[in-house]
C-alpha cells in the first residue's frame, strides 16, 4: 500500500519536520511551497491526504481549499489545515471552506500523526 | 444635520426672463389693451383739427361729426369687447404675474 500525502507549506523547516514524521509512518510525502499553483499541483498529484498551510505566498490556504472543494472528485479528499494564526475566526472560515481537520501551530508531532491516521482511517472506510 | 449652502432655498424667485409663447402673447395682448385708450383719445381729438367756420373753409356738418364720433366709439367698444374675450380665454394663472399694473 502506497499512501501518498501532499504537504503544501512555505516554511522549509516545518516541511522538513513533517516530511520526517510522515515518512517514518510509511507515507510517501510530496511537498510544494507556493500557493499560486497549488490547486493544479494537488489535482495532478491526487494524494490520499492533503496537509495545507493557511499563510502561503501567492494564494491563501483558505482560497485553495474552496477551489479544491468545487472540483469534481476532490470533495472527499481529507484535508488537514495548519495555521499560525490561531484565531477562532480562522477555524470557522476553514470549516466553511470544507476542511477535515484544523490544527494550530505550534503543534506536537503526536497530534499531527494522530490527525493523519484518523483522517486516513475515515477516508478508507467505505 | 448640517445645513450646507446647498440646503438653502436660494434667493427669492425672480420673475422669469423668457416666457412661454402663450405668456408672451398674453403680455403683448395686455400691451395692446393699454394702447387702446391712447388711440381712442387721439381719435377723439381729431375733431379738434376740423375747421369750425371761424377760419377758412366750411364747417364740418354736424351729421358728419356725429357719424365720426359714434363710429370711433363703436370701434373702441368692439375692440375692447374682443380684448375682454381674449382676457377671459387666457384668464388662467399667469406664470409671470409680476407685471406692474
Amino acid at each position: 500500500m502506497n499512501r501518498r500525502v501532499l504537504l503544501i507549506e512555505d516554511e522549509p523547516n516545518i516541511t522538513e519536520a513533517i516530511r520526517f514524521l510522515l515518512s517514518r509512518e510509511g507515507w510517501q510525502v510530496q511537498t510544494h511551497a507556493d500557493g499560486a499553483d497549488a490547486v493544479d499541483v494537488i489535482t495532478a498529484a491526487a494524494p490520499d491526504l492533503l496537509i495545507l498551510d493557511v499563510m502561503l505566498p501567492g494564494k491563501s490556504g483558505m482560497d485553495i481549499l474552496k477551489e479544491l472543494r468545487a472540483l469534481d472528485g476532490m470533495q472527499d479528499l481529507p484535508v488537514l489545515m495548519l495555521t499560525a494564526r490561531g484565531q477562532a475566526r480562522d477555524r470557522d472560515m476553514a470549516e466553511k471552506a470544507g476542511v477535515s481537520r484544523f490544527m494550530t501551530k505550534p503543534f506536537s508531532n503526536a497530534e499531527v500523526l494522530t490527525a493523519v491516521r484518523d483522517l486516513h482511517a475515515q477516508a478508507s472506510r467505505p | 444635520m448640517s445645513i450646507g449652502p446647498e440646503n438653502e432655498t436660494g434667493p427669492v424667485q425672480a420673475p422669469p426672463v423668457f416666457l412661454e409663447k402663450q405668456s408672451y402673447r398674453r403680455r403683448r395682448l395686455s400691451d395692446a389693451a393699454r394702447l387702446l385708450p391712447i388711440f381712442g383719445a387721439l381719435l377723439f381729438a381729431v375733431p379738434l383739427l376740423w375747421p369750425d367756420g371761424s377760419g377758412d373753409g366750411d364747417p364740418v356738418p354736424m351729421s358728419v361729426a356725429i357719424t365720426y364720433i359714434f363710429g370711433i366709439w363703436v370701434l373702441l367698444i368692439v375692440v375692447g369687447g374682443l380684448f375682454g374675450l381674449a382676457a377671459r380665454r387666457w384668464s388662467g394663472p399667469d406664470p409671470g404675474r409680476s407685471e406692474r399694473g
Binding site: 512555505d10 516554511e11 522549509p12 523547516n13 516545518i14 522538513e16 519536520a17 513533517i18 520526517f20 514524521l21 517514518r24 511551497a33 505566498p57 501567492g58 499560525a84 494564526r85 484565531q87 501551530k105 505550534p106 503543534f107 506536537s108 508531532n109 503526536a110 | 444635520m1 445645513i3 389693451a33 385708450p37 391712447i38 381712442g40 383719445a41 377723439f44 375733431p47 379738434l48 369750425d52 367756420g53 371761424s54 364747417p59 364740418v60 356738418p61 354736424m62 351729421s63 358728419v64 356725429i66 366709439w73 363703436v74 373702441l76 367698444i77 368692439v78 375692447g80 369687447g81 380684448f83 375682454g84 382676457a87 377671459r88 394663472p93 404675474r97 409680476s98 407685471e99 406692474r100 399694473g101
Partner: protein
C-alpha cells in the same frame, strides 16, 4: 295727459317696486343664492349711476346750447373703461385687497392711514357733491312742475315737492344703505335696484329718441339732414373745452364717491371689469345716441324760451304722447334717485368713518377698547350723515335755485377731480407722500373753490371788487384770470390751474418730504398690488373657500388633525357636507386653532387672505414680523444647540472610527505577530520532539536538526528585538543620540557589520569622494538603516553576481543616499507595501520577520528624513533622504 296725482302714484309705486327688489335681493344675498346678483351685467348697469338726471335731461340741454360738446362727458369715462387694464384693474384690486370703504378711505390708507387726509377728501367730496345732489332734486322738481303745469287741478308747490323728494330719497338710502354693517361695505339690494333703474332710464331715453327720430323726424336720413340744417348743425366747438371736459369727465368718473362706491367697493369680482370695459361704454353710447336729435327736434318744435333741459319730457307731452312722457319721467326719476341714493350712501360712509366716528371715539375718552355697541353707533352716525347730506343738497337747491344742469355738474366734476393726482400718484408712484398729497389736495381745493365754485354758484359769494380787481386788490389774483392769463373759458381756466398746481405741489412736496414707515409699507402694497394680492377671485362665501382653508390648515396642523377639526365643525353645522361652511364662528375657531401653530397675527392674516380675498394689512404684517422675529430668535437658539450637538456627535463618531481603525490595525498586527512567532516555534517544537522521541537518529541528522532549532531560536530573538524597536520608535519614546559625524564613516561601519560573516558574496560599488559630507544625526540609528538596506540587498538580490551601488546626490538641496542593486527588483504592485509591517515581498524565507523596512522608515522619519523605494533603477532601489535641517558641508 296724466294728472299730477297719477304721476305721484306712479312714482310711489315705482319706489315701492324698487324697495321690493332691493329687499328681495338683500334676502337672496343673505341666503347665499346670489349668483345672478353678482353677474357682470349687474355690475355694468350699476356703473350707470354715472348717468344722472344731468345726463337724462341735461345732455339734451347741453347739446341744444353747445352742440356736440356734451359728448365729452361720456367720452372721458369711455376711455377710462377701455383702458381698464391700466388703471381700474389696479384700483379695484387695491380696493379689494385693502378692504377700502370709500375713496377717502383709499387715499388715507395709501398715505399711512392718515385721518387728516381722509377728512380733507371727505370735506372736498361733500362740498363738491352737494350741488350735484341739489341738481338731482332740481331735475325731479322740474319734471314734476312740467306735469303740474298741464294739470290745472293739481296742487303743486315747488319748494315742498323738493323737500318731500329729498326726504323720500333719504329714507330710501337709509333703509337700504345702512340696514346692516357689512365688513366689505357691500349692498346687494341697492345695487340691484340701481341696475333696474339703469334699465328704466336707458329704455326711456331710447324710447323718446326713437319716437323723435322715427315718429317726428321721419327716419335716420331725414333726421341727419334736419340736424345739419338746425342751429347747431355746424361743427363749432371750443377746442380747449373739448379736451378739458373729456379729461375732467375721465377724472371724475374715477374720483366721484358714488362711482368709487359701485365700481370698487361694491365690486364682487374683479373679472366683471372686463365685461364692463366694453358694455359700459356701449351703455354710454346708447344714452348719448339720441341726444342731438332730441335737441334739434326740441329746438324746432318747442316755443322760443322753452327750457332745453326738459325737452326729453316736453316733446312727448307736446306731441300728446302721455305714456311716453310718463316713461321719460320715470327715466329721469330713476336717474336722479339712483345717483342721490348711492352718493348719499358713499358720502355718509366717508363722513361717518372719518369725521363722526373719530370725534365720537375721542369724546368717549377711550381708544380701541370700545365694546360691541359700536355697530349701532356706526349705523346711527351713517343715518344721520345721510340725512345731513340730503339736507345740505336740499338747502343748496332752495337757496341757489339751481342753474343750468350742465354747469353745476361740471363744477362738481372739477372739484372732485382734485383727488386725481393723489389717487394716481398713490397707485403708481411709491415716492408719493402724505404731506405731498395733503398740500396738493389743499391747493387744488382752494383754487377750485376760488376760481370755479364761488364765482359759479351765484352772486354775492364773491364780491364784485374781488371779481374785477382780484383778491386783496391784486389784479393777478382775479378768479377768472389767475396770473393775468385772460380769455380762457372759466372751466378750462379753473381746471388747468387747480389741477396743474395741485399736481406740481403733490409731486414737489412728495419729493421733499419723507414718508413714515407705515406709509412706505402701504405705498409698496398699493403700487405693487399685483405682486402682493391673490388672483381675481370673487368674495364668495362658498365651499371653495372651505377647500382652500382645508388645504392651508392641513399644511399647518397636519393632515389628520385638520381633517378631524373640519369634520367636527361640519357635524356641528348640521353635517350637510364634508366641509363646514365658512361661518364666522367656524373661522374664529379655526383662527384660534391655527394661531396655536403659527401665531395669532399670522393665522389672522392667512384666513383673511383666503376668506376676505384681501391681502395682509400693515398691522397684520407688523404683527407677523414681530412674531416671526421671536420665532426666528427661538429657532436660531435651537439651531445653535442642535448644530453643537451634531458637532459633538460628529466628533464622537470620528473618535469612534479612529478607535475602531486602531483596534482593527492592532488585531491585524497581533495576528501578524502571532503568525511570525508561531512559525519558528513550530519548527523548534517539531524538531525538539523529533530529537527527543526518535531513536536511532544519525549524528549528522541530529546536528542538522539542532542547527534548525538554533536558527529558529535566533529568528525569534530577532523578531522580538525588532518588535521592541518598532514599538519604541512608534511610541515616540526613542531618545535620539545626536552627534556630529561624516556620511562616509557611517557607511563604512554599516557595510562592515552587514557583510560580516556573510557567506554570500555581494559586490558593493561606492564613490567615496561624494560621501564626504558632515552631518549631525543619531549616527547609530542612521547606520541601522543603512545596515538594513545593505542586508536586504544581500538577502534578496537575485542576480548571479549581486552588485549593490551606493551613491550620494544632492536633490533639491537635500542629501540623498541611493542603494541600488542589480537584481530583479520589487514587483510594482508590491512597491507600495514594502514599508508596511510584515510585508512579504518574495516567497523565499530569509529569516526576516518583515519588519526591517518598517523600522527603517520609522527611524528616518524620527531623524527628519525619509526612506523611499526608487522605481525604475533596473533592480531594487532605496533612497534615504537625510534631514534638510542638518548642517551639511562638503569638505
Amino acid at each position: 295727459m296724466a294728472s299730477l296725482n297719477v304721476l305721484i302714484l306712479v312714482c310711489l309705486g315705482y319706489v315701492v317696486f324698487l324697495f321690493g327688489v332691493a329687499f328681495a335681493s338683500d334676502r337672496l344675498a343673505a341666503t347665499g343664492r346670489i349668483r345672478w346678483l353678482r353677474s357682470p351685467l349687474i355690475y355694468t348697469l350699476s356703473l350707470s349711476i354715472y348717468c344722472t338726471a344731468w345726463t337724462f335731461y341735461g345732455a339734451v340741454g347741453y347739446a341744444a346750447r353747445s352742440g356736440l360738446e356734451f359728448v365729452t362727458i361720456y367720452l372721458g369715462p369711455t376711455l377710462v373703461m377701455i383702458g381698464w387694464w391700466w388703471g381700474l384693474r389696479k384700483l379695484v384690486r387695491v380696493g379689494r385687497s385693502q378692504r377700502v370703504t370709500s375713496i377717502a378711505d383709499l387715499i388715507s390708507s395709501r398715505f399711512g392711514k392718515s385721518n387728516v387726509l381722509a377728512i380733507c377728501v371727505t370735506v372736498l367730496a361733500v362740498i363738491a357733491v352737494t350741488p350735484y345732489i341739489a341738481l338731482q332734486l332740481q331735475s325731479i322738481t322740474l319734471s314734476f312742475s312740467i306735469f303740474a303745469e298741464g294739470d290745472p287741478d293739481g296742487f303743486y308747490r315747488e319748494g315742498s315737492s323738493a323737500f318731500w323728494v329729498a326726504a323720500g330719497l333719504a329714507v330710501f338710502a337709509i333703509l337700504f344703505g345702512t340696514r346692516n354693517l357689512d365688513a366689505n361695505e357691500r349692498h346687494h339690494g341697492v345695487v340691484t335696484a340701481i341696475a333696474i333703474e339703469a334699465v328704466v332710464k336707458l329704455v326711456a331715453l331710447l324710447a323718446v329718441g326713437a319716437f323723435v327720430v322715427w315718429g317726428i323726424g321721419g327716419g335716420i336720413e331725414p333726421m341727419l339732414q334736419r340736424i345739419d340744417q338746425s342751429e347747431i348743425g355746424a361743427w363749432t366747438i371750443d377746442k380747449s373745452r373739448w379736451a378739458t371736459i373729456t379729461f375732467l369727465a375721465a377724472a371724475a368718473f374715477v374720483c366721484l364717491p358714488r362711482m368709487f362706491q359701485v365700481m370698487v367697493v361694491e365690486n364682487d369680482d374683479e373679472r366683471h371689469l372686463r365685461t364692463a370695459a366694453w358694455a359700459f361704454p356701449l351703455y354710454l353710447l346708447l344714452m348719448s345716441l339720441f341726444v342731438v336729435p332730441i335737441a334739434v327736434v326740441g329746438l324746432d318744435l318747442m316755443p322760443e324760451g322753452a327750457n332745453p333741459d326738459l325737452f326729453v319730457l316736453t316733446i312727448p307731452l307736446a306731441q300728446g304722447e302721455g305714456g311716453l312722457a310718463m316713461l321719460a319721467f320715470l327715466g329721469g326719476f330713476s336717474s336722479a334717485t339712483s345717483m342721490v341714493i348711492v352718493a348719499a350712501m358713499a358720502l355718509s360712509t366717508m363722513v361717518s368713518n372719518h369725521i363722526v366716528m373719530p370725534i365720537w371715539l375721542y369724546s368717549q375718552g377711550g381708544g380701541a377698547s370700545v365694546s360691541g355697541d359700536v355697530r349701532n353707533i356706526v349705523l346711527f352716525s351713517r343715518r344721520v350723515s345721510i340725512a345731513v347730506i340730503m339736507g345740505l343738497g336740499y338747502f343748496y337747491f332752495r337757496f341757489t335755485g339751481g342753474g343750468a344742469l350742465a354747469s353745476i355738474g361740471l363744477i362738481a366734476f372739477a372739484g372732485i377731480a382734485q383727488i386725481l393726482p393723489a389717487l394716481v400718484g398713490g397707485l403708481f408712484w411709491r415716492g408719493a407722500t402724505r404731506t405731498g398729497a395733503l398740500v396738493g389736495l389743499s391747493i387744488g381745493f382752494l383754487l377750485w373753490l376760488y376760481t370755479l365754485l364761488l364765482p359759479g354758484i351765484g352772486s354775492g359769494l364773491l364780491s364784485e371788487s374781488v371779481m374785477t380787481n382780484g383778491l386783496f386788490g391784486w389784479h393777478w389774483l382775479r378768479p377768472d384770470a389767475l396770473f393775468g392769463i385772460t380769455g380762457l373759458d372759466p372751466t378750462v381756466h379753473s381746471v388747468m390751474w387747480s389741477l396743474s398746481l395741485n399736481t406740481v405741489a403733490f409731486c414737489f412736496v412728495s419729493l421733499l418730504s419723507f414718508p413714515s414707515p407705515l406709509e412706505r409699507l402701504q405705498g409698496a402694497q398699493f403700487v405693487n398690488v399685483f405682486d402682493h394680492s391673490a388672483g381675481p377671485r370673487g368674495w364668495t362665501g362658498s365651499v371653495a373657500q372651505s377647500e382652500d382653508l382645508m388645504i392651508m390648515s392641513q399644511r399647518i396642523l397636519g393632515a389628520r388633525e385638520a381633517q378631524e377639526f373640519f369634520h367636527t365643525e361640519a357635524l356641528q353645522q348640521g353635517g350637510r357636507g364634508v366641509l363646514p361652511d365658512p361661518t364666522p364662528a367656524f373661522l374664529e375657531r379655526l383662527e384660534r386653532e391655527l394661531g396655536g401653530s403659527v401665531g395669532a397675527a399670522a393665522a389672522h392674516a392667512m384666513i383673511g387672505q383666503i376668506v376676505g380675498g384681501s391681502s395682509v394689512s400693515v398691522q397684520d404684517l407688523l404683527a407677523v414680523a414681530d412674531e416671526s422675529a421671536q420665532l426666528m430668535e427661538y429657532s436660531s437658539q435651537l439651531e445653535a444647540k442642535s448644530s453643537e450637538l451634531s458637532r459633538t456627535a460628529r466628533k464622537l463618531q470620528e473618535a469612534n472610527e479612529k478607535l475602531t481603525q486602531i483596534s482593527l490595525q492592532k488585531d491585524a498586527f497581533l495576528s501578524q505577530v502571532s503568525h511570525e512567532l508561531r512559525t519558528p516555534m513550530t519548527s523548534i517544537r517539531a524538531f525538539s520532539e523529533i530529537l527527543r522521541d526518535t531513536d536511532g537518529l544519525l549524528p549528522e541528522d541530529k546536528t542538522h536538526y539542532a542547527t534548525i532549532i538554533h536558527d529558529e531560536a535566533l529568528r525569534l530573538t530577532r523578531l522580538l528585538d525588532d518588535l521592541l524597536d518598532l514599538s519604541v520608535l512608534e511610541s515616540g519614546q526613542v531618545s535620539l543620540n545626536l552627534r556630529d559625524g561624516r556620511l562616509d564613516a557611517v557607511l563604512d561601519r554599516a557595510l562592515d557589520s552587514a557583510l560580516a560573516g556573510s557567506t554570500r558574496k555581494l559586490l558593493v560599488k561606492r564613490q567615496k569622494s561624494t560621501e564626504r559630507i558632515a552631518l549631525r544625526s543619531d549616527l547609530d540609528r542612521l547606520g541601522q538603516v543603512f545596515i538594513n538596506l545593505i542586508a536586504n540587498a544581500q538577502k534578496y538580490c537575485d542576480a548571479r553576481h549581486p552588485i549593490l551601488t551606493i551613491s550620494v546626490h544632492d536633490v533639491g538641496g537635500q542629501v540623498v543616499v541611493d542603494f541600488i542593486d542589480n537584481g530583479s527588483g520589487i514587483p510594482a504592485e508590491a512597491q507600495s507595501m514594502v514599508f508596511e509591517k510584515f510585508a512579504r515581498v518574495s516567497s523565499e524565507k530569509a529569516g526576516g520577520a518583515g519588519l526591517g523596512l518598517a523600522i527603517c522608515r520609522e527611524i528616518m522619519q524620527r531623524l527628519g528624513g525619509n526612506v523611499t523605494y526608487l522605481a525604475g533603477q533596473g533592480g531594487a532601489g532605496f533612497r534615504v533622504s537625510l534631514a534638510t535641517n542638518q548642517e551639511m558641508a562638503a569638505e
